[in-house]
């Protein structure tokens, strides 16, 4: 998307994102791609494993939510860092929107995980939440990002808000690998890679990888579309609020 040739002047905001035609091409490609992924996810035969049975197919949906969330938080942290370097307000807008959409994917990952565990491992026990280390750490992770949004809404002065939020966002991003990889692997968990459990690479059938990796790419593409839409809207809102630019 390109804005007016005047670019960023004073308090104005300009968006140096991908051109609109590239956005449209990627959007259409992601729509076709994800449709194919969903078809393959349900139609391809997979090896039958006790207890898991068809729910093994959730690998194509539940796990990409987390990959997408981490990609989104990484994008968000990158723009926060660039904000601190350049003080360009578009970086603040991008960091906020990437974190927002990323948090949505995180909540979806959490809820899908709860449903998966409830009707697969906790059958007959009526357990919806069992404090599985990875699940708990993921919830803590979302609370850390929830605090980012709360922090933003508590500061009125835009430049101060952008600066403090960017610093906090870098801290939040730094906790991601520890909460989602290091800590859960030290404890007993349903998740692969935890104590005694084989890691993903040793237990996943080739036919499932054939769907899983495209699913990760597809959902990250979907994140990019939703994020770009929200950035475009936020930029328009900023321009509408600034009487000089209307």
């Amino acid at each position: 998307m390109r804005t007016s040739p005047t670019g960023s002047s004073g308090n104005g905001i300009s968006d140096a994102g991908a051109p609109r035609s590239a956005y449209r091409s990627i959007r259409n490609a992601v729509a076709v791609w994800l449709t194919a992924v969903i078809l393959a996810a349900f139609l391809l035969d997979i090896p039958k494993i006790n207890i898991l049975e068809h729910t093994a197919r959730n690998l194509y949906f539940h796990v990409p939510m987390w990959f997408t969330m981490m990609a989104a938080f990484f994008v968000s942290a990158y723009h926060s860092l660039r904000y601190l370097q350049s003080r360009d307000r578009i970086r603040d807008v991008r960091a906020l929107q990437a974190a927002r959409v990323g948090a949505v994917f995180g909540v979806l990952g959490l809820v899908t995980g709860v449903v998966w565990a409830r009707f697969t491992w906790y059958v007959g026990q009526n357990i919806w939440w069992n404090f599985d280390p990875k699940q708990t750490m993921a919830a803590v992770q979302l609370l850390i990002y929830g605090a980012y949004f709360t922090l933003r809404s508590s500061i009125d002065e835009p430049d101060k808000r952008a600066r403090i939020a960017a610093v906090y966002n870098l801290f939040a991003a730094a906790t991601v690998p520890f909460l989602l990889y290091v800590l859960p692997r030290q404890m007993e968990s349903l998740h692969p890679g935890a104590e005694g459990n084989p890691a993903f690479s040793e237990i996943t059938d080739p036919v499932m990888r054939l769907v899983f990796y495209p699913a990760v790419i597809g959902f990250i593409g979907l994140f990019w579309i939703l994020y770009t839409q929200r950035v475009r809207l936020a930029v328009l809102n900023h321009r509408a609020d600034d009487p000089l630019e209307v």
């Binding site: 996810a41 006790n50 009707f119 007959g124 007993e188 459990n197």
Partner: protein, 89 residues
């Protein structure tokens, strides 16, 4: 609905280390399966996958609706501003 026994592993299936009930939960009493559970466990638990896909679909649709509402608000602001300009001129 029966629970898959912990010890009785199916030798033909590819069983994995985490493919059992979590051992930390052994003392939890097993209850009769409820109606919801019977639905979810039908067809080799395929409905669990359906539930997961629906949750993702509904969640993303809600995000799109929220974005749409912000777009509506912006449209109204712009319309009002244009109307102000017209009456002022």
């Amino acid at each position: 609905m029966t629970i898959h026994p912990l010890q009785e592993a199916d030798s033909t299936a590819q069983s994995t280390a985490y493919d059992t009930l979590w051992t930390g939960q052994e003392e939890v009493p097993v209850q009769e399966s409820t109606g919801l559970e019977r639905v979810m466990l039908a067809e080799d638990k395929l409905y669990v996958v359906l539930a997961v896909v629906l949750i993702i679909w509904i969640g993303l649709a809600l995000l799109v609706f929220r974005t749409d509402r912000r777009l509506d608000r912006l449209e109204r602001t712009m319309d009002e501003r244009i109307a102000e300009k017209d009456t002022g001129a």
